[in-house]
């Protein structure tokens, strides 16, 4: 893993190792908030933002505190703590300084705390022993990949609303089926770059 260029990891995180389509992480908000393109993009931006900063923060904590003291097994708890605290902090900052974004994101912001794609990226970053720049590339890429997936899904679902559908498929079931089909399509990218 050491010699892969951060930019390659960035591109791979968007297409070939997409958080949703290849890892199936962050599904809850992916299914719940993919009804309208506009809100999907809003949540996507918020996830990308939080994901990038918490992963970098977790990188610093892991390699500078946990690893030297031999406390790697505590990383789950510590990562969750930093994510929760960071989201709180971001909420306060946005409310004060970027009011429009704060109101646009609404309740999505606190929801991000429990988005497992965010914890997932922090853990993968450790398991794959990325260096700092690779971590940055990976986290930004994962965020954009997640945003791409939810936006695409919102686009599909908003068109789906116009069609008659069997009752049993309305809502989450059809969303999961579409996710599967989209994941198949994304496999087509896998020849491009490979990081796993």
């Amino acid at each position: 893993m050491i010699d892969v260029h951060p930019l390659v990891i960035f591109v791979a995180a968007i297409f070939t190792s997409n958080m949703i389509f290849s890892n199936f992480l962050g599904m809850c908000s992916f299914i719940a908030v993919s009804k309208e393109v506009e809100t999907a993009i809003g949540l996507g931006i918020a996830v990308t933002f939080v994901l990038t900063f918490t992963t970098v923060l977790n990188y610093l904590i892991y390699w500078n505190i946990l690893q030297p003291f031999g406390l790697e097994y505590m990383m789950f708890i510590i990562f969750i703590l930093t994510i929760a605290a960071f989201v709180q902090l971001v909420e306060m900052l946005l409310e004060r300084y970027v009011e429009n974004l704060y109101y646009a994101l609404g309740i999505f912001l606190p929801l991000i705390t429990v988005n497992c794609a965010i914890l997932g990226v922090s853990l993968f970053m450790v398991y794959r022993s990325y260096n700092f720049l690779q971590t940055v590339g990976y986290s930004i890429g994962s965020g954009i990949g997640w945003m791409l997936a939810i936006t695409a899904m919102a686009g599909v679902r908003s068109r789906l609303n116009l069609k008659a559908m069997p009752e049993g498929l309305v809502g989450a079931p059809i969303t999961l089926i579409i996710t599967g089909i989209m994941a198949l399509a994304f496999i087509g990218f896998s020849g491009m770059v490979q990081i796993q």
Binding site: I65, L71, M74, I78, A85, M92, R96, E99, N100
Partner: protein, 362 residues
């Protein structure tokens, strides 16, 4: 052993560092400092920023009607925010009409005071205060209706005959919610140390509290007065009053006011009930009949007994019988929306001018 302690120490240290950052952020970023709140362009308040508009106003002893306690579910606490309210929130939109949105109306329990803010509220809300009262007397008027007399102690309340107050029902056994409910004042405006309310048992949170838990000597929190249903001095013609059940309360206050000021306008009061058992305060009505140019006409819709020689049927039946030409009258109605609708129809048919029909729905 050492390892466990060490681990705990490191985790605690990291958690404390995060907590410290958050506390610091709360003190600096979350601290909006002092902001200026201007009400109706003339009253200035310097308030601590960061709280909701409703609680900031209550902190300044300005009371806005609110039934749900700031949860954003009742939509009563509307105020006009001309400047500094920020964008309209998703939690407000379901409770505001297009017209209200165009007129700067906001739900005050949902928006935060973060900068200098300019708001507009009805002038009479400045008169609204909070009172710690004690229950002086409880009187069972009918099977389901109680009259409660509250003592305001040293404090006085100034209201117009016909207005209402809000009573706070605290949490009690079987109910963990604190609610405010509105009741019209039945007592005289000339007795500013006391309030009398008629409260009927419906099985709801507040009426259950009043009927099953409240005793003489208990302390009750009341705020008010509110409402634009009240006696109008300016039109001097004859008056029609109509009410059912606890709707008699504001009418009582109006009659008391007329008696206190010896207002000899012709007045007739149609009181709707089911049977003779539902009638109350008949003695009091007799007193008013003696003192005033006043007539009390109960109309019973379900009374079968031969003892009853009065009106049989609903209030509109009585109106048909007593009102020939409605044009000179003004009318005061208090009751359920259905009852008020039917009486308004009937009054309009008799020629009572629509703009002189005042009513209070509950």
């Amino acid at each position: 052993m050492q390892e466990i302690l060490f681990t705990a120490l490191v985790v605690t240290a990291i958690a404390s560092a995060l907590a410290a950052v958050l506390t610091l952020a709360d003190r600096t970023v979350g601290n909006y400092g002092q902001v200026q709140m201007t009400i109706n362009n003339d009253k200035q308040f310097t308030v601590e920023g960061g709280k909701t508009l409703l609680s900031t106003l209550i902190g300044q002893k300005v009371f806005i009607p609110s039934a749900c306690g700031g949860k954003g579910s009742c939509g009563y606490c509307k105020v006009k925010v001309h400047d500094g309210g920020g964008p309209v929130l998703a939690t407000e939109k379901p409770m505001l009409t297009e017209e209200e949105l165009a007129n700067d109306v906001r739900i005050s329990c949902q928006i935060k005071v973060k900068q200098d803010i300019q708001i507009e509220i009805p002038e009479e809300l400045f008169n609204v205060k909070e009172y710690d009262t004690t229950v002086e007397r409880v009187e069972q008027l009918t099977k389901t209706i109680k009259l409660l007399r509250f003592n305001l102690g040293e404090e006085t309340i100034s209201f117009k005959p016909g207005q209402y107050v809000q009573l706070k029902a605290p949490a009690y056994e079987g109910n963990d919610e604190e609610v405010y409910r509105a009741y019209s004042v039945a007592s005289s405006v000339n007795d500013p140390n006391h309030l009398e309310l008629l409260i009927g048992y419906t099985g709801g949170i507040a009426t259950t509290y009043v009927h099953q838990h409240l005793k003489e000597g208990d302390e009750v929190n009341i705020n008010g007065p509110y409402g634009d249903f009240h006696y109008q001095e300016d039109d001097g013609g004859p008056i029609i009053m109509a009410a059912a059940g606890t709707g008699m309360a504001p009418i009582l206050s109006i009659l008391q006011y007329m008696a206190d000021h010896e207002i000899q306008r012709e007045a007739i009061f149609f009181f709707g009930a089911r049977t003779m058992e539902d009638l109350f305060l008949s003695e009091k009505m007799k007193e008013f009949e003696e003192k005033l140019n006043f007539r009390y006409v109960p109309a019973l819709s379900r009374e079968e007994s031969a003892e009853w020689t009065g009106i049989k049927g609903r209030v509109p039946v009585a109106i048909d019988q007593f009102i020939k030409d409605g044009a000179p009258y003004s009318a005061y109605l208090c009751g359920s929306p259905q009852m008020i609708d039917s009486i308004r129809e009937s009054l309009k048919e008799h020629g009572v001018p629509e703009e002189k029909i005042y009513y209070d729905e509950f």
